[in-house]
């Protein structure tokens, strides 16, 4: 017996008890070391889970921003279109909840890694936002955006719901099209040719003001959210895109196009 042990035994017999119990458990095989392959597998699975949850968080946050941007909902209280009740009604609560839940799910996963706890949450959050902005700018300044635009309405997994004609937001459809005529007066009306060739007169909804996501010019491409009437769309929100962007990729076809 080692001197240390004797000392400990004399002063605190319970201390030796712990060692005895631990070593007995080891000797009887109650506990055995996990093999390295299991630890590697566990680490890999956790790493993949971290990547997946982070990707889901980034995607949901991007989608949330995109939805808000497309419909310019955040401008509604300022422009007074339908005001706060409309904002509340149209706010993507599901997406926001998804972002919230993902943010909580990703935190303990990230904290397993040095990068997750060596930096403050704010630093990580700013880094995350910076990445989103970077990819947002990349999306807006490269042909990728035009490609998504061109192929909106075609079946693109997941993304088509943000760019596609088929998207409907709480009963208010999104119409994609190109601006042909813009009113010179103060009526804010314009004529938009939709993908299917149909022409729509877009005018602000009843309350007058409209949440504009940019300046509409002839040739601009627009996303219009509003109520459809006979050749008229009463728009509650409009988002415009530059008209000179072209997708270098060939337009692929699918059943929807046919």
């Amino acid at each position: 017996m080692m001197p240390d042990q004797m000392k400990q035994k004399g002063e605190e017999p319970v201390v030796l008890g712990i060692k005895d119990r631990v070593m007995t458990s080891l000797a009887t095989g109650v506990v055995s070391p996990l093999p390295r392959w299991r630890i590697c597998t566990r680490t890999t699975v956790l790493f993949l889970l971290t990547v997946v949850v982070t990707a889901v968080l980034a995607l949901l946050t991007g989608a949330l921003f995109f939805r808000l941007r497309v419909t310019a909902w955040w401008l509604l209280p300022q422009t007074g279109s339908d005001g706060l009740p409309f904002l509340f009604q149209m706010f993507p609560w599901g997406l926001a909840l998804g972002v919230f839940v993902s943010a909580f799910a990703v935190q303990p996963l990230w904290r397993r890694y040095a990068i997750g706890y060596r930096f403050s949450v704010l630093s990580l959050f700013i880094g995350f936002l910076a990445s989103l902005f970077f990819f947002g700018i990349l999306l807006g300044r490269t042909p990728l955006h035009a490609c998504l635009w061109e192929h909106g309405g075609v079946t693109i997994p997941f993304l088509d719901r943000f760019y596609g004609d088929g998207s409907a937001q709480k009963g208010r459809p999104i119409i994609l099209g190109t601006v042909e005529v813009v009113s010179k007066g103060t009526s804010h009306e314009m004529i938009v040719r939709a993908r299917d060739g149909r022409r729509w007169t877009v005018s602000p909804s009843g309350s007058g003001a409209i949440a504009w996501g940019g300046t509409a010019e002839v040739g601009s491409r627009v996303v219009v959210v509003g109520k459809k009437g006979e050749g008229i769309i009463r728009a509650v929100a409009i988002r415009t895109f530059r008209g000179d962007e072209q997708c270098p990729l060939p337009r692929w076809s699918n059943k929807k196009e046919e």
Partner: protein
Amino acid sequence: MSSKTEDEQPTDEEVAREVQQGQRERFGVLVERYQEKLLRYGRRMLFNGRDIEDVVQEIFLKVYKNIQAYDASRPFAPWVYRVAHSEFINAGKKRVREAFDLFDPDVFFPHPYAAQANPEEEAEREETKRFVAELLEKLEEKYREPIALFYLEALSYRDIGQILRLPVSTVGVRITRAKKQLFALVAAREDKMSDV
């Protein structure tokens, strides 16, 4: 514990490597070296918790079970304390608090704080250590653990950050605030005694 002792006993890392290689009985050396430390650590974390000896036993069994996950090129102590920290949290009632770290301003904002105690702080270390041992229970909960690990377990900011999963700057801020609380408590106690 990573440096060799005077009579050239193997370091914790060397012993851990032997255990990884299958020398099960060598795990007893690690138990001997850490059992008192973990009991002490447990008493500070679980003032009214479950039987600390049982928790410490579970910690050792968990350490042994996961010994292959330990990277022997890194210090052993922070790894053991990390396992212990998790087990004590599971055994205690701090789990709920940890889940809300996101809203802790100490963790949320970056702090321009020195990454390690300066020489002046080192000089007052012994005095502070005495106060920590006496008044630890009276400190706010989130300050207890970092200050106990720093002054009583003699771990570095970096190691404490690794154990508590906190940025090193946050560890520094918490220790500084804990010291302020501590000295305020000491001053209050001395005032009381002088009144008597």
